[in-house]
């Protein structure tokens, strides 16, 4: 067998893999953007305990949190068209590309996860804070927006950052339904050139760099939002 790791092959792989970063990023952008909207919607449903929607959202969040991404991807890709097409007379099964189903899966998944993060952060704000707000004459909504939300954001930021990094990594599963992202491209290079380690290493470097970038942004955001308040260890 040849050398396990070869720098020449490593460098050759870079231009082959790099363009596929756009696919990975588009999944992250869609997943986060619409996931946040969906997540906020679910939190509101939870807090207002809206009839019908509340139990549905409970089941939905529980399913999304309780099953592996891989399985969700399969169920959305094959299952959703099988329900929707006969009802609405559409043909999304054929007309929507695999990447569209990948976006949907990630949005649905992120919505559920982010709602749990947001909701957890809200409940971490002691109720005394709400009472304090109400006692000085703020309305319920004002108290929520001016007192609870700013504190909640601080608690929610670190898990939100980790979640984003996780989303970025999970996006590597879309290869299975035929969407070629950076991980998928690395694998196909492995099967076409017979050497996969260099491609994996490059992909690892890309993943690490982007996750560092995400973390750095969250660190910066966190600092901006800390309002001069320190935790046990001050700022991190």
């Amino acid at each position: 067998m040849d050398r396990l790791f070869d720098w020449g092959r490593f460098l050759d792989n870079i231009p082959k893999i790099a363009p596929y970063l756009s696919i990975t990023l588009s999944i992250v952008v869609f997943g986060t953007l619409f996931g946040v909207i969906l997540g906020i919607g679910i939190v509101l449903i939870n807090m207002k305990k809206l009839p019908v929607l509340y139990p549905i959202s409970k089941v939905y969040v529980s399913f999304m949190r309780g099953t592996p991404m891989l399985v969700q991807l399969m169920i959305v890709y094959y299952g959703i068209p099988a329900w929707i097409d006969p009802i609405f007379g559409t043909n999304i099964n054929r007309e929507w590309s695999a990447v569209t189903f990948a976006y949907i899966t990630f949005i649905l998944n992120q919505g559920a996860f982010l709602s749990a993060i947001f909701y957890g952060a809200i409940t971490a704000v002691p109720y005394g804070q709400t009472e304090a707000g109400l006692s000085v004459g703020l309305t319920g909504f004002q108290t929520f927006r001016r007192i609870v939300v700013p504190q909640m954001i601080r608690t929610a930021l670190p898990p939100f950052g980790s979640d984003l990094v996780g989303l970025f990594q999970n996006s590597s599963l879309v290869f299975l339904v035929g969407v070629t992202d950076i991980m998928g491209r690395a694998k196909t290079i492995g099967s076409a050139t017979k050497h996969v380690l260099e491609a994996y290493v490059f992909v690892v470097i890309v993943y690490i760099s982007i996750s560092l970038l995400i973390r750095l942004s969250f660190y910066w955001l966190n600092k901006k939002l800390s309002y001069g308040r320190g935790g046990v260890a001050g700022e991190f």
Binding site: P68, I75, V196, S211
Partner: protein, 236 residues
């Protein structure tokens, strides 16, 4: 697409048969993650010289690596280098004797240590710095303050995030099928290899995972009520 109930049931039975493997892949990393993760979090939160910075770097970088890629690389190295290592250590065993589930456990343990240390650290940071000072002012030592004041307050805050992590671990355990370990998803799709009912296999896997996480979340709910008794929370 027809959903074949008989094949679904067969997949369900196969999935249950391989459930112990999934549990092994979750509980060993979970226990290791809790122990090492708490240690890492404390070292970082209390800024132990050198180690805090070192661990911060390692955790941040390692969290950027998708578990799938890490797993592939460990597996490749394990297959290539384990025999040499065993010879070096004069161990009478070879790759053929070692179940590769340990490669999966190894990869998942590293992941768990990183994610749990972050969860615990986040909770530590959410506790007001005044609590430390209060502890010292009544004459408690640093260790006593951590043990009696910080950790009890941290637990209710950390449990939701930690449960997220455990659930994440359960689901991440499904990626080990990529290196040929038969866990729940791989088990549920074994009959599919003969009957070509993969969709039924995936749905069966989803049902089993869902059940598993619902059990865990309920246990966590009980735990949370128990540990958070002293803390009023109007949103629960």
């Amino acid at each position: 697409m027809n959903f074949n109930i008989a094949h679904f049931n067969e997949s369900l039975i196969y999935g249950i048969k391989y459930l112990p493997n999934t549990l092994k892949l979750v509980f060993i990393p979970l226990v290791m993650g809790l122990i090492l993760g708490t240690a890492v979090a404390l070292v970082r939160a209390y800024k132990v010289p050198v180690f805090a910075k070192l661990l911060a770097g390692v955790v941040t970088i390692y969290q950027g690596v998708p578990i799938v890629v890490a797993l592939m690389i460990y597996n490749l190295l394990f297959m290539l280098k384990f025999n040499d290592l065993a010879k070096l250590l004069h161990i009478q065993s070879s790759v053929a004797d070692v179940d590769n589930i340990w490669v999966g456990i190894f990869a998942l343990t590293l992941m768990a240590v990183c994610s749990m240390s972050e969860a615990i650290r986040g909770a530590l940071l959410s506790i007001d710095h005044g609590q430390n000072e209060a502890g010292y002012s009544v004459g408690l030592t640093k260790v006593q303050t951590i043990r009696r004041i910080i950790i009890p307050q941290m637990i209710p805050v950390v449990i939701p995030t930690l449960i997220n992590n455990v659930v994440g671990l359960i689901k991440a355990s499904s990626v080990v099928m990529a290196i040929g370990i038969t866990e729940l998803v791989a088990g549920a799709t074994i009959p599919s290899s003969r009957t070509y009912s993969f969709y039924e296999g995936y749905v069966a896997a989803a049902v089993l995972y869902w059940g598993l996480t619902i059990i865990i979340e309920n246990l966590a709910g009980i735990l949370r009520k128990h540990t958070g008794k002293f803390r009023g929370n109007a949103y629960d």
